[in-house]
């Protein structure tokens, strides 16, 4: 296996090869597109010349072994990590996010694997972190006072919509919530604010059966609002149930993209673990 | 209703001020005055002194005895106390301007330095022209006592002090270097070691006080240079003993107990009939005096021997 980055002409890149010809390649332009992303952590090459496409309105699942580089990929897309090489286009325009704030401003909302919450702050504070609402009038413009009632109302609505939890007090600190409740808040935040793309990194990893089901329903809701979703998960049944397309990630790059209708879970597992190669893809470059 | 008074010293860890406090307490007990003592936290700490003055005023004290850490900076607070009807007496260190206090019972620190400088030059004789001098000062913040003693010594030794408000700006080649000691044995030792590394031929050591002189002596002893001339200021009993033992060549003796006792008496008198103490004839302050203590007197510099010094010493 040669993992050193080799630059190839674009038309030679294995953008899903024959697998793609089975209809996965969409005729529309991708809303989010990345080419040649590379990220090294010291000796480790977490992303190795990786490509990525997300089409409007779809649920794209990303699957792969532990350490394959899935989280690094979505961090690169969402500005949490700046890739060493490679380009990203959002709606056809090239973007390069230096921070998560820039990506968010562009409409990309992310639930990170680590949730990214401030434990001592309240649920409402956390939901509006970095995009706080200010009071109207002079109190807001001059004294920059936060509009707490409005933020709390919004947060309560969103959490109720999610129906994931019965939180009595929207002002309680996040650290007093159970792991599942926290995950719910993080998902609600992303779903509420994502205008172009919502990214979820293993949103159900620590969740129980009931709570997981709720999150899947929420993902469908977001999709129905026309917003495309990137979902990282190790749960094959969930992935095959909900995804429109599945991006299989292996050794820091996209191995191929499949449609759940065309392959069995068993095939997908075989591809992602390297037990079998998808047709037309040769692992050694 | 008893008379209450305050004593505010620069620090309460330096033996000089510890003894001053003891002298004041003894006198206060004798006269039936209630005495409360305050101090700065470190050398040069005038803010704690300001706070102490304010506390004394709030407490209704009749008089304040103060050894000011910063003679200029304390003036406003002293004025406020005097405006509130409190008698303020500067001990040991005159305020700047000197009439900022009602009275001053002090030694002249510059004079103290001057005496040991003159003594050192006379002792060395012709060798003074190419002496190697180590200057062991107090602190890098250079509080006034530090500057006065240092510059007094240099003046007495015949060295141009440049800016008399600052030590360390001299360029006379006889000065090996200035080091700070914090006025204790540890600092004296380390400073001496460092200066010896710079120039092992040092033969005159000026020290800010006797504890730092004792530290410097340890370093010299360790380097096998017991004959080096050490001069110091203070005149505490351990210091005079060190002069007697030949550790220190000469020291300028001051009289903190006397100052404190006089101060307490003055406050008691002021409380009784409102009279304020008068300065020494011809001076702007009541000079409690300074005497050079040495067993090796030299021509032209007045001195007392260690036997006399032991009689007069404090602590």
């Amino acid at each position: 296996m040669d993992l050193l980055p080799h630059r190839r002409a674009d038309h030679l890149r294995r953008r899903c090869g024959p697998v793609d010809q089975k209809g996965v390649g969409m005729t529309q332009e991708p809303i989010l597109k990345a080419r040649g992303l590379t990220k090294r952590y010291g000796k480790v090459i977490a992303l190795n010349d990786c490509d990525f496409d997300l089409y409007p309105g779809e649920i794209l699942a990303v699957i792969g072994d532990n350490g394959a580089g899935k989280s690094t990929l979505i961090k690169a897309i969402s500005g949490a990590v700046v890739p060493d090489e490679g380009q990203i286009w959002l709606e056809g325009r090239e973007v390069s996010f230096k921070t998560p704030i820039e990506a968010r401003a562009a409409g990309i909302e992310t639930v990170y694997q680590t949730l990214a919450m401030s434990p001592a702050l309240s649920i409402a504070d956390n939901m509006f972190m970095g995009r706080e609402l200010r009071k109207p009038g002079i109190m807001g413009t001059l004294f920059r006072q936060l509009d707490r009632p409005r933020m709390e109302k919004f947060a309560r609505e969103k959490l109720n919509e999610l129906g994931l939890m019965t939180i009595q007090n929207i002002n309680q600190a996040v650290e007093t919530l159970s792991g599942g409740q926290r995950q719910g808040v993080a998902v609600a935040r992303a779903a509420a604010f994502g205008s172009k793309v919502v990214i979820l990194d293993e949103p159900t990893a620590a969740l129980g059966v009931k709570e997981s089901r709720r999150v899947l329903e929420l993902i469908r809701d977001v999709k129905n609002r026309g917003i495309p979703i990137i979902l990282i998960s190790h749960n094959m049944p969930h992935v095959f149930e909900i995804a429109d397309r599945i991006h299989i990630h292996r050794l820091g790059r996209r191995l191929c993209v499949i449609r759940p209708q065309d392959y069995t879970m068993s095939d997908a597992v075989a591809f992602m673990t390297g037990a079998r190669l998808p047709e037309g893809v040769t692992e050694a470059a | 209703e008893g008379v209450s008074a305050c004593l505010i010293t620069k620090t309460d860890t330096n033996p000089f001020f510890v003894k001053m406090k003891e002298g004041a307490e003894a006198k206060a007990a004798e006269l039936g005055v209630t005495l409360k003592s305050y101090a700065g936290k470190i050398d040069g700490d005038h803010e704690s002194q300001v706070a102490a003055i304010e506390a004394c005023v709030a407490d209704g004290a009749k008089g304040i005895l103060i050894t000011a850490s910063d003679t200029k900076a304390i003036v406003d607070s002293v004025k406020a106390a005097r405006d509130a009807g409190v008698l303020v007496i500067a001990l040991d260190t005159p305020l700047d301007p000197i009439d900022a206090a009602d009275a001053t019972f002090a030694t002249d620190n510059f004079q103290a330095g001057l005496l040991i400088g003159q003594w050192a030059r006379a002792t060395l004789g012709d060798a003074a022209a190419n002496a190697k001098i180590a200057m062991l000062d107090l602190a890098i913040s250079q509080p006034s006592v530090d500057v006065l003693r240092d510059q007094g010594f240099l003046t007495g030794f015949g060295i141009d002090t440049k800016d008399p408000n600052k030590w360390g700006d001299e360029d006379d080649p006889r000065i090996v270097g200035n080091e700070v000691t914090a006025g204790n044995e540890e600092g004296g030792l380390k400073a001496m070691e460092a200066l010896l590394a710079k120039d092992p031929d040092i033969n005159v050591v000026y020290t800010i006080n006797e504890p730092s002189a004792a530290g410097a002596y340890e370093a010299l002893k360790a380097a096998g240079k017991e004959g080096v001339l050490i001069v110091s200021v203070d005149g505490g009993c351990p210091g005079v003993k060190d002069v007697k033992d030949g550790v220190i060549g000469a020291t300028s003796q001051q009289y903190p107990l006397l100052m404190a006792a006089l101060g307490v008496e003055a406050i008691a008198r002021f409380a009784a009939d409102g009279t304020k103490p008068a300065p020494t004839e011809g001076k702007t302050f009541f000079d409690t005096g300074v005497a050079l203590v040495t067993d090796k007197p030299v021509e032209g510099v007045e001195s007392i021997d260690t036997a006399k010094g032991m009689e007069l010493c404090w602590g």
Binding site: T114, L115, M117, G130, R131, H238 | A73, V75, S141
Partner: protein, 358 residues
């Protein structure tokens, strides 16, 4: 074949139908004690407030002159500088940092203001503006080293403390500028030393300034987005960064603002002491004093928890203790001793309350 997947899930998720919608709920054990504990837990500045009230009462009983208006106003003016430095220290500690250089910045700024006027003849208001700007710049330097070079705040400010203190001594040439000269040539420098005298009790402008700064910062920290960002940065910097807080910028702003507060404290020092003195002990002790106030005020050194009001009470507690012990007539060393005990005691009480009311 996704039907296959659906059947897999539904194989057991069918069991979900009719599942309870609620999570576990708990009955609150009510009772006066529980309610008190809850309130104490919710109000981080309550503990120092209680300690303050108790110590005021105790000293009132022990010392005759304690409960006089002048004594109380004296306490306020004695903590004015520590209180302002405490504002600086609070915002820094809320970001899980620490600033050992606060006192040095204050003293150096006051020296700069004084020397600008007296050495270079710059008009006092301009000199003050320059002093405040330079103080902010010193703070910003700390912030830059901490946020950009990612150096630990303890070390950075330990270094700048020494650097600024030494610069202060070198630049000032050990010269104290006399009060009478300042009063004559540049009275603006002494602005905060003026007082109002309602009913004969002097209250310094400096005291009002301190209270105003505490109030403004309490508002800013609670009610603006920036304040929330300060808390979030101290709470979990990685999470805050991912959640959209520009943590580096917040850190630099916090240290620069702390520098500005220190420079304001420097200006207040001129008013309070009349003169400009490079040897002012605030340069050496300001850091420990302000940290003590912050800590007694119940602000966590790990960042993200506590309120600036607590710091204000903390400073007052120290002020009350120092004045009270002076009036009672304890030896200064015993005062140090008791302040040491107080520090540990205050934190132990705080910890205990957090534990029982958790």
């Amino acid at each position: 074949m996704s039907n296959d997947a659906k059947s897999v899930s539904s194989a057991y998720e069918a069991g979900l139908k009719g599942a309870a919608e609620t999570v576990a709920e708990f009955h609150e054990e009510q009772g006066a004690l529980k309610k008190l504990q809850h309130w104490l837990h919710q109000t981080p500045s309550a503990v120092p407030m209680i300690v303050l009230v108790v110590s005021v009462i105790v000293f009132g009983l022990l010392a005759d002159n304690f409960f006089k208006a002048t004594t109380l106003s004296t306490i306020l003016q004695q903590i004015a500088i520590v209180g302002i430095l405490g504002c600086a220290q609070t915002i820094v500690i809320l970001t899980a940092g620490i600033d050992l250089s606060v006192g040095a910045i204050a003293v150096f700024s006051s020296v700069l203001m004084g020397q600008m006027t007296f050495r270079y003849g710059i008009p006092a208001p301009a000199a003050i503006a320059i002093g405040l700007a330079l103080g902010s710049a010193m703070g910003a330097l700390n912030g830059f080293l901490i946020a950009r070079l990612k150096l630990p705040p303890f070390i950075v400010t330990l270094g700048t403390w020494q650097i600024l203190l030494a610069s202060n001594f070198i630049y000032s040439r050990n010269e104290t500028i006399r009060s009478s000269d300042i009063a004559e040539k540049a009275p603006a420098l002494q602005f905060w030393g003026q007082a109002i005298q309602p009913g004969g009790v002097k209250v310094l402008y400096a005291v009002f300034l301190m209270i105003a700064l505490v109030a403004i910062m309490a508002y800013v920290l609670r009610n603006t987005a920036w304040g929330r960002h300060v808390y979030a940065t101290g709470d979990d910097p990685d999470a805050a960064e991912l959640a959209g807080v520009p943590t580096k910028r917040v850190l630099i702003q916090v240290y620069a603002l702390a520098g500005l507060f220190c420079a304001i404290a420097g200006w207040v020092m001129i008013g309070r002491f009349g003169s400009v003195s490079p040897t002012a002990s605030t340069g050496q002790l300001g850091n420990i004093q302000s940290i003590t106030a912050v800590v007694i005020g119940g602000i966590s050194l790990f960042g993200g928890r506590g309120s600036i009001l607590g710091m204000f009470f903390g400073a007052l507690i120290v002020g009350v203790f120092e004045m009270g012990l002076r009036l009672v007539g304890t030896d200064p060393q015993w005062t140090f001793f008791l302040i040491g005990v107080l520090i540990i005691f205050a934190v132990a009480v705080d910890q205990w309350i957090r534990k029982v009311s958790a």
